[in-house]
Amino acid sequence: MSLNIEQLEKEFQDKIDRGENIEPKDWMPEKYRKTHIRQISQHAHSEIIGMLPEGNWITRAPSLRRKVALLAKVQDEAGHGLYLYSAAETLGISRDELFDQLLTGKAKYSSIFNYPTLSWADIGAIGWLVDGAAIINQVMLTRTSYGPYARAMVRICKEESFHQRQGYEIMLTLSNGTEAQKQMAQDSLNRWWWPSLMMFGPPDEVSTHTEQSMKWKIKRKTNDELRQQFVDITVPQAEILGLTVPDPDLKWNEERAHYDFGEINWDEFWQVIKGYGPCNKERMTTRRKSWDEGEWVRDAAVAHAEKKAARRAELKKAV
């Protein structure tokens, strides 16, 4: 009575075409499982590594108001990482394996987090642009076909909007401040604009995963569609700030009803992905250090739990 693989695959695809979600114990093609482990874990790693560039400014936030907001945001990102690791684990990979893939460099994370945060304005630009770009991707993913991933995304999206607003407020304050502050905001936009556009991944014509991902409803829009959406939303926001988007080719196209924008430097993108970005080494070193230095704490917690359980068992026997 065992169905052959083609039948199973067809039923699986029909289910997705009908708009049904796939849940952990459902049958799924091995490639669907693997693709999800890769994508969800990459996403989780990005949330965790993403805490580092912002964490860099927590102690130097210019006011208590800014400091509590930044702390809360970075804590949220830790939460996002945890939701996503849990979602990945439903596919039969352990948390330790996931960490190991990150720490050995086998797994990737978003290349944006390999850029340095040089000024306070960068915290504004990250919230506005990086979280802004992430939101566009994540809103799409709330309707992704794999149930646990979609549910994690719903939770994440609810939390993201404060991230972007706190970032934009920082930019707004600086833009309305002294000439030096405005300059700082502009400089920050100059440095973060292009890497933010790269966050949507390589252009559609070279993106190897897009077609299958669309068929399985992992993605529902292509990289280029999402990127265009981001540009269209963000350019007017830059205008409100009175800042200039660093792209001489940026122009509203009446006919397309979209902004045209300049060529992205894909060589830079691939360099950063391959590990040659400004902060790749630093990020990985920091992450490895905290994992290694936390080992005794993890072990002590296990030892304590085991001792407590043993004592409880003994008490029960005595009764």
Partner: protein, 94 residues
């Protein structure tokens, strides 16, 4: 690498009067830590007034491969629903 902390499933009651709902999972060394972690991970914005945690390995789930025999028998039992019964339209409050 030593032992991994076990996985716990987390259930949260968002306010009294509502049931606990599954919200996700997390790792913790024991039940006390599981509750504390659940508080930090799943209720940072007052999402709950009560938390249940249960170690994932204690959950028994039905097998989706058997969904046919499990759930389809209920499909053709329309008489379990009020709309199955033909009653006059003048009839009120029933």
């Amino acid at each position: 690498m030593k032992k991994e902390w076990p996985i716990w499933e987390v259930f949260i009651r968002s306010k009294n009067g509502l049931e606990h709902r599954h919200v996700g999972s997390l790792h913790a060394a024991d039940e006390t830590m599981a509750i504390e972690n659940a508080r930090d991970v799943y209720t940072r914005r007052q999402e709950g007034v009560s938390i249940w945690v249960v170690e994932s390995k204690h959950i028994t789930a039905s097998n989706p491969d058997n969904n046919g025999e499990m759930f389809e028998p209920a499909k053709d039992k329309a008489y379990r629903h009020p709309t199955f019964y033909d009653l006059p339209v003048e009839l009120k409050h029933m």
